[in-house]
């Protein structure tokens, strides 16, 4: 048993691979040799993880991945515990459907990060591309629990059809942020893209630096929402984020909507003093 397991990319990848086997909680009972023999998919061809990564250690749920793994998809998929640290940028579908554990990406991440996740936490220090925390193709619900913290910007459809959980974006977001959310909270520190929270039933979209509120949302009041303060304070402490005091202490303009649904959702737009 080792303190942690290190996967070091042997050589730059020329094509994408799917590494659904890189799941920390499943490594707990595996030796170094067992881990190296786990399958990965390169197109239609199944190969061994050890062909792409040098494996160091075994019998641990603390996994570190070293190298440019932007072309490695689905790491941490279905993860149910443990800790996965990716020391550079990560690929698509990171933490797909994860239920517990912690993923920490020191760089950016690709499309579909945290789609369908129901628990655990996903911390991405850089940007993410489209559909972070959203639904799997054909699924009615996006993330149903857990926390996703993106310190950078996000692409389109962030949090789309989210049912529960907390999605924090430190930068701007693309179009259709929080589209059709059923519940949960999406906090955007930067500017929110077009058509935000369109068709949402419940849930909260917090906009820290500008948003074009759809006409299907009705103005309620200007106030200091206690749950936003609580969530920002929690995120700052839990993830070591520097949250602007103006957002923690600030006033927000509350809009209720979307009028095309049960209209129990809300957009909270930060108000400059």
């Amino acid at each position: 048993m080792t303190e942690h397991i290190t996967l070091t990319l042997r050589a730059p990848l020329e094509e994408s691979i799917e590494a659904t086997s890189v799941v920390p909680d499943r490594f707990a009972s595996l030796s170094e040799r067992d881990i190296a023999a786990l399958p990965v998919w390169c197109g239609r061809k199944q190969q061994a993880l050890g062909e792409f990564f040098a494996v160091d250690g075994g019998h641990s749920t603390d996994v570190r991945v070293i190298g440019d793994v932007r072309r490695v998809a689905e790491m941490g998929a279905g993860m149910a515990g443990g800790r996965l640290v990716i020391e550079a940028a990560a690929g698509d579908r990171l933490g797909l459907g994860m239920t517990a554990g912690h993923v920490d990406v020191l760089g950016a991440a690709g499309h579909d990060a945290g789609v369908g996740m129901s628990g655990g936490s996903l911390h991405i220090r850089g940007d993410v591309r489209d559909r972070v925390g959203a639904a799997l193709p054909g699924a009615a619900r996006g993330m149903t629990g857990g926390e996703i913290v993106v310190e950078g910007a996000a692409g389109t459809d962030a949090g789309a059809r989210m049912r529960r959980g907390l999605l924090f974006i430190g930068g701007d977001t693309g179009d259709r942020t929080a589209r059709g959310i059923i519940a949960g909270t999406v906090i955007v520190i930067g500017r929110v893209g077009a058509e935000p929270a369109h068709g949402s039933k419940r849930g909260t979209l917090v906009a820290g630096d500008g948003i074009e509120v759809p006409v299907t949302y009705r103005y309620a009041c200007d106030y200091e929402p206690p749950h936003v303060r609580l969530a920002l304070t929690y995120l700052g402490r839990r993830y070591g984020l520097s949250i602007y005091a103006r957002l923690v202490d600030g006033r927000y303009r509350r809009y209720c909507g979307d009028a095309g649904t049960v209209a129990k959702g809300e957009i909270l737009e930060w108000l400059p003093e």
């Binding site: 629990g145 959980g165 907390l166 909270t185 909260t204 206690p226 303060r229 609580l230 929690y234 129990k264």
Partner: protein, 305 residues
């Protein structure tokens, strides 16, 4: 045994098990958090008539509260879990929910047994309430006229120790009160301990039942009333003319012992003749705190009085 010339009597305080909850209240300012905390813990000196015992545990800095605002930690004790749950709903609903700018959080997050008081109170929102899960805990957003009140859904409950006490036997009323005030100051802000009586001090120490009135649950502790010295079986030395009692509730025995040590040590000042304690011969409760043992425990030496 003497401490600073004050006799520590060879007796013990007898305490009993209770159920406890820690409620954290925050507000826009320390002033408003205190207002709510004082109301929440008001009229809660003794379970005999108040159904619970409660007091402020300590003030909390913004860095210590879940929402980063000024706050107060309070402790509530009741005889059983069911009663504690009722008291929380009544008191939070009438004192915290009503107080401007306040939010209410659980202060025992690791406790396994939970009381869903926040969940019960959410219906005040008349269907307009909503909830948020932050850090794995659910919080109810109850709409009120100044915005929203945030109530944690459930509150942890733990075993507690109620009825710890010691008596300060003084030569006159003023020096006894000074000693009692010093005791309270020494115990104030000690974690896990509250003093539920006014200013932390009780003057109407009681005995179980009554010599004359059969229906009374408790009546005056005549053995410690100086005015009754010739009329009853007095427990007072000749030079004692005033007695005040410090009653303590705590989350555990260790906290109780530390607090009793600090309080008794602080009370050993000129004008005080002896320190005693109330007990019922060991029949009331399983927790016995022998005064001399506490004052000689090495673990307590160095606890700041």
């Amino acid at each position: 045994m003497y401490v600073n010339g004050v006799l520590i009597q060879d007796t013990f305080a007898e305490a009993f098990p209770m159920r406890a909850a820690r409620i954290v209240i925050t507000a826009v300012s320390s002033r408003w958090a205190r207002e709510a905390a004082l109301k929440l813990t008001g009229f809660a000196t003794s379970v005999i008539a108040c159904k619970c015992e409660a007091a402020i545990e300590r003030e909390l800095a913004p860095s210590e509260t879940p929402d980063g605002r000024p706050g107060f930690s309070t402790l509530l004790f009741a005889m059983d879990t069911e009663s504690l749950g009722k008291r929380l709903v009544e008191r939070i609903g009438q004192t915290v929910l009503t107080c401007p700018t306040t939010n209410c959080f659980d202060g025992l997050p690791d406790a396994e047994r939970r009381l869903t008081s926040g969940r019960a109170l959410r219906v005040f929102g008349d269907g307009f309430q909503g909830s948020k899960v932050v850090g794995g805990q659910r919080f109810w957003r109850v709409p009120v006229m100044d915005g929203e009140c945030l109530l944690e859904e459930s509150f942890g409950t733990a075993k507690g120790v109620g009825g710890g006490n010691f008596l300060i036997l003084g030569s006159n009323a003023s020096s006894t009160l000074v000693a009692a005030e010093a005791s309270v100051a020494a115990i104030a802000s000690m974690p896990g301990v509250i003093l539920p009586f006014p200013g932390g001090i009780a003057r109407s120490g009681s005995k179980i039942g009554s010599r004359r009135y059969k229906s009374l649950v408790a009546s005056t502790n005549d053995a410690y009333c100086p005015t009754l010295r010739p009329l009853t079986d007095s427990a007072l030395p000749d030079d004692v003319h005033s007695v005040l009692e410090i009653v303590l509730d705590s989350l555990d025995e260790a906290s109780m012992r530390r607090a009793m040590y600090a309080g008794m040590a602080a009370a050993c000042v000129p004008g005080v003749r002896a320190i005693s304690a109330g007990n019922y011969g060991g029949k009331l409760g399983p927790h016995h705190f022998a005064l001399r043992e506490i004052m000689s425990e090495s673990a307590n030496v160095g606890v700041q009085p």
